[in-house]
């Protein structure tokens, strides 16, 4: 399969080219395309493996950026690494399970006493008794 074409090889009117697909991918994913354009966009993606693959990779990139910068997921990653890495994870292991696990793994950070003290001082307020006598953590 390839881009939708007329029998003479010319592009089908109204169906976007691969270049147009790439240009408007963000709008497509965010639902910002008008319905008529969205339908033609979807028709192209259905018929064009390169564009379908590009869309898949574009979406995967967004997901990776979000997940790989998430500190909670970092804790899960460390646990996974300690257990032999992702290769050792059970087949079919649902990544969504990580979202449940990460909450359980998230350890409560130490109370930011120095932050409390600095802000209270800057605001001209009394240092709370809970912070007195404690230094930077």
């Amino acid at each position: 399969m390839s881009c939708p074409k007329n029998p003479d090889g010319t592009p089908v009117k109204g169906i976007p080219t691969c270049k147009e697909i790439c240009e408007f991918l963000c709008d497509y994913l965010e639902g910002d395309l008008p319905e008529s354009k969205r339908t033609n966009f979807a028709a192209h993606l259905k018929a064009c493996p390169p564009c379908a693959e590009y869309l898949h990779q574009y979406e995967a990139t967004i997901k990776l950026a979000r997940k790989c910068c998430c500190p909670e997921a970092e804790k899960v990653a460390q646990q996974v690494a300690a257990s032999g890495g992702v290769q050792a994870m059970p087949k079919g292991w649902d990544p969504a399970a990580c979202d449940k696990i990460k909450a359980a793994l998230a350890s409560k950070p130490p109370p930011p006493d120095d932050m409390v003290k600095a802000i209270m001082q800057a605001m001209g307020m009394a240092i709370p008794p809970s912070c007195q006598g404690k230094g930077h953590k």
Partner: protein, 243 residues
């Protein structure tokens, strides 16, 4: 056909001060301040009343509750803890000094998150910037008839890749290596979860410009990540291009 215009990275020059965001993001100075009853607005009405009354315990509660999350955001933006702590402290001070202007139409944590992002961006502005570089080479190229010039190599699926330590490190590294303006927009939209309008306010650019910049940033990052997912089987079927 390639885009004719060269894309040169520029760090935005217009960036609102955290105090401006804290003071003006939710209401203008001329508007009367609406008193929030304790049982409305995300259940934070009572807390807001205490903050406005300068209840020290309320301030302490908010700082202790939100610092970890805000610090994580600042570290993602700035990359080091010292600057990040300064940014978070600046954000708290801006917010508390303008708490009378906060109308409670968003959660306090959401408001502080936005102010922290702004404080972090202010810090970034003071740093030595990376030289402006073009990302043209990282964008897809198309022939005159609109098809991809090069086949799109399929990605070898790596289940749970986001939990692989090495993969996480490399993805963060590739984001870090993007020119400042592209890295920042990915952080705001895809990592911190701001919507297009919010990112536009923070960056001082139009929503349209945010979308254009974000799209190019994602395309560039996709290209940089591609070698990590390359299908190394050598199978021609792994490359999808037009016949």
């Amino acid at each position: 056909m390639r885009n004719a215009a060269s894309i040169i990275a520029r760090v935005p020059t217009v960036m609102p001060d955290p105090d401006e965001i804290a003071a003006g993001a939710t209401r203008s100075a001329e508007e009367p301040i609406e008193v929030i009853s304790p049982d409305e607005d995300y259940g934070e009405g009572q807390l807001l009343l205490r903050l406005r009354a300068k209840d020290a315990r309320a301030y302490e509660e908010v700082i202790r509750d939100l610092t970890p999350r805000l610090l994580a955001t600042a570290i993602r933006m700035l990359g080091n803890e010292e600057d990040s702590r300064d940014a978070v402290q600046d954000a708290f001070l801006s917010a508390f000094r303008n708490i009378q202007n906060f109308d409670g139409k968003s959660k306090l944590s959401t408001w502080l998150h936005r102010i922290t992002i702004n404080a972090a961006l202010m810090k970034l502005r003071t740093r030595r910037r990376k030289p402006a570089v073009s990302i043209n080479d990282l964008l897809p190229r198309h022939s005159d008839d609109g098809h991809f010039e090069m086949p799109i190599a399929s990605w070898r699926e790596k289940p749970n890749a986001e939990y692989d330590i090495e993969m996480r490190h490399r993805v963060r590294e590739e984001i870090e290596n993007l020119p400042d303006e592209y890295r920042t927009v990915i952080m705001l939209r895809d990592v911190e979860g701001l919507d297009t309008a919010e990112a536009g306010v923070v960056l001082g650019i139009s929503e349209s410009a945010v979308k254009t910049r974000l799209h190019r940033a994602r395309q560039a990052l996709r290209e940089r990540l591609a070698p990590m997912f390359a299908n190394q089987s050598g199978d021609q079927d792994s490359e999808r291009g037009h016949p």
